[in-house]
């Protein structure tokens, strides 16, 4: 057991991946000497060399596209996209090429490419540095999308993404990079594509992922003071979604709140609401309520606190669910 930040846990996970498989390599902008703008790859170039920790030209389509070519040659590239809002120059390669390689080769080829994307707001930054574009990728068949919310998951999920035969996007909650937690580097890793129940409750379920998991836990603690027993589920995987775990919870609690930073319209919360209404309609005491961003481009930093879902927004949603 060791205590480390999420950033350090990913760093250690990447280190383990590089040690375990000589075919793995990291690619991205400023990931070498600098160690990435968030220092997640700190020290790796020094230890593994420039052929395995590649400071790439400043071109996201180039990073993803060459990673696909490397994968076709038997390598397992792990790409870093510097910020969420900068993934779009690589969107074409991700959605038209990477996601479809398996299908268009009739299952003959696989593309074990990992794409790490620091995402989400709350860091007081400038435009394009605080977005949550996960739904755009979740809508694309052929991709897997995971997002750790704590150091233990971060350490293991990045390694599981690397060994997965499918392309995996790892959305990293950047405002939680410095959140510390216990990491057991010897514990056998669980299924990275499953959700986990972080807090048991009987009256309502709150599903969250990535940066909003600590917020959901805090909201559940606050609700308890009001006499409401709230279960909290860390979704962990956005594609596929572990609907079984969510359904089992809602069947018991009868109420479901889904919280994410991304805008609610066309988002993951809507997908969960639809599926749960199909699977657990008769168990529901209230409509599934989404808590998320508004239908606007991510706002300027000085007002982002009003935009981002917080404890009160989740509590307000719980109030509505209980009042129904």
């Amino acid at each position: 057991m060791a205590t480390m930040t999420i950033a350090k846990a990913i760093n250690e996970g990447l280190r383990a991946s590089l040690e375990n498989d000589p075919k793995t390599l990291l690619m991205g902008e400023d990931i070498g000497e600098l160690g990435g703008v968030y220092r997640v790859t700190d020290g790796l170039k020094k230890d593994f060399g420039a052929l395995r920790v590649v400071d790439s030209p400043l071109a996201e389509s180039g990073i993803i596209g060459t990673a696909i070519g490397l994968a076709l040659r038997g390598y397992r590239p792990i790409c870093e996209i510097q910020f969420d809002g900068f993934v779009f120059p690589g969107f074409n390669q991700i959605t038209t090429q990477l996601a479809k390689l398996r299908t268009r080769s009739d299952g003959m080829l696989s593309a074990p490419v990992v794409i790490r994307i620091p995402y989400g707001g709350g860091i007081g930054s400038v435009e394009h540095h605080s977005e949550s574009p996960e739904a755009l990728f979740a809508h694309t068949a052929g991709l897997r999308i995971i997002t750790p919310s704590n150091a233990q998951d971060a350490y293991w999920m990045i390694q599981q993404a690397v060994t997965c035969e499918d392309p995996v996007i790892v959305f990293e909650p950047k405002r939680r990079y410095w959140l510390k937690g216990e990491v057991d580097t010897s514990a056998p890793a669980g299924d990275p594509f499953s959700a986990s129940v972080l807090r048991s409750g009987t009256d309502a379920t709150v599903v969250a992922y990535g940066p909003l998991v600590p917020v959901a836990l805090a909201a559940a603690a606050a609700a308890e003071e009001d006499g409401r027993s709230v279960e909290v589920i860390d979704l962990r995987s956005i594609s596929p979604i572990d609907f079984d775990t969510v359904t089992a919870s809602v069947t018991r609690t009868g109420r479901l709140i889904v919280a994410h930073e991304a805008p609610t319209f066309g988002g993951i919360g809507g997908e969960i609401a639809a599926r749960i209404s199909e699977r657990a309609f008769l168990s529901l005491e209230a409509p599934v309520i989404r808590v998320g961003g508004f239908h606007m481009p991510y706002p300027v930093a000085r007002v982002e606190e009003q935009y981002l879902p917080d404890i009160d927004r989740i509590l307000e949603a719980l109030d509505r669910a209980f009042a129904y």
Binding site: S61, T66, G69, L72, Q93
Partner: protein, 403 residues
């Protein structure tokens, strides 16, 4: 001029078309067009070039013995016949679409024959000639256009990747693959040196992925050859809209050699490509080849060139036909006579019959089988939807019995 008033078929805007369509005579812009076999069927015995400021003797890369020239002609002839048969199959409703290559046989056969077995080619969607040189079964190409697969062959068997329809996307894959070759070579120096080759056209040269792939290739000295077939037209838009300089010259800006070759001269194309591949394999980095050619047919069977280009332009390119000039040479040099060409015609006719039979026997896959090809590892949503689909389909099993 009001373009809406332009007559559709043989329009009178020659001046405008000409103004946007520089003829690029040899030597202009400092780029020469390398040629060995002239349109009149005469063949030079040597080939020299100024490449990146150096005089390079490409003569050692020329392969012009009789057997070889006849086999090049055979490949070009067969692939043109394949093209004609495929066009006919599309017209008869057996293919959803066809992408003709007529006019580009020399560029494709010449470059494809230059590849070593360990090299890896990344085509666009028109490289039927390259596919032939890599040993891909031609009928397999038609599976894509028949609509029964989006792939068609195992790329690893022939070192010939699947067709890519999103323009220029494959050029980055070629560079990444080359970066992998580079690492493999460092890990095991006993491996035969290898390179990748990225095919693209004058239209795709405007895509950002071409720029990014050239930057990456140059930065890492990746063993990749960029092979641009400038066939003058990106569907209806002339190459002058894509570039104001000869495309080969763009290599200067990336810091690697660029060469323009007469894309209708199979001998020169093969020699230049052999040189470029050797350059790349030997660790000296990428090369850009611009094969200057002409799309003698339509962009696809859904296209109508009479709406945007002059039949006079098409007629001007007729005498530069890549097959005609090699046939002329072979006949004049006494290397092939009527027997050879007659036999080839018979062989091609047989091939066309076989091809047609193959295409007509291609059946659609079951949609249920497609669920298995989305992910490499089990995926609960896909499994759930497959279960639903199979149950839904099974619900129709008894249909008709109660009618």
């Amino acid at each position: 001029m009001n373009s809406s008033r332009l007559p559709a078929a043989e329009f009178e805007v020659e001046e405008i078309v000409r103004a946007t369509h520089p003829p690029y005579p040899d030597g202009e812009h400092g780029v020469e067009t390398l040629q060995v076999l002239a349109p009149d069927g005469t063949m030079a015995r040597s080939l020299g070039a100024r490449i990146a400021g150096h005089t390079v003797d490409l003569s050692p890369y020329l392969a012009a013995d009789a057997d070889h020239l006849r086999s090049l002609y055979r490949d070009m002839f067969l692939i043109r016949r394949f093209d004609q048969e495929s066009t006919a199959l599309q017209r008869q409703g057996q293919l959803a679409l066809w992408v003709p290559l007529t006019g580009q046989e020399a560029a494709q056969i010449g470059s494809g024959r230059a590849l070593a077995p360990q090299d890896y080619a990344f085509p666009t969607y028109r490289e039927h000639g390259v596919a032939l040189t890599r040993g891909v079964e031609l009928a397999e190409i038609l599976r894509l256009f028949r609509g029964v697969t989006n792939g068609g062959w195992d790329p690893r068997e022939r070192n010939f990747h699947l067709y890519t329809l999103v323009l220029a996307a494959q050029s980055l894959h070629a560079v990444g693959y080359a970066m992998g070759l580079q690492r493999d070579q460092l890990a095991d120096p006993t491996l035969p040196p290898a390179a990748s080759i990225a095919y693209f056209g004058d239209g795709a040269s405007s895509e950002g992925d071409i720029h990014e792939s050239m930057v990456f290739a140059a930065s890492f000295d990746a063993p990749v050859v960029f092979f641009c077939q400038n066939n003058q037209w990106a569907i209806s838009v002339p190459s002058s809209v894509q570039t104001k300089v000869p495309l080969a010259q763009r290599a200067d800006g990336y810091g690697f050699p660029g060469v323009r070759v007469d894309g209708n001269d199979v001998v020169a194309v093969e020699a230049v490509t052999r040189w470029a591949l050797e350059h790349a394999r030997s660790g000296r980095g990428p090369v850009l080849i611009e094969a200057y050619t002409y799309r003698m047919s339509a962009h696809t069977t859904a296209d109508d060139p009479s709406k945007y280009r002059l039949s006079r332009d098409e007629q001007e390119w007729q005498p530069r036909d890549p097959l005609v000039r090699l046939e002329t040479y072979l006949r004049l040099a006494g290397l092939a006579g009527d027997d050879f060409f007659d036999d080839l015609g018979t062989e091609a006719a047989t091939m066309a019959v076989e091809l047609r039979r193959s295409v007509l026997s291609m059946t659609a896959p079951d949609l249920a089988s497609r669920f298995a090809a989305v992910y490499a590892e089990p995926h609960p949503l896909v499994q759930e939807e497959l279960r639903f689909f199979e149950q839904y389909q099974a619900g129709f099993a008894d249909e008709g019995k109660h009618a």
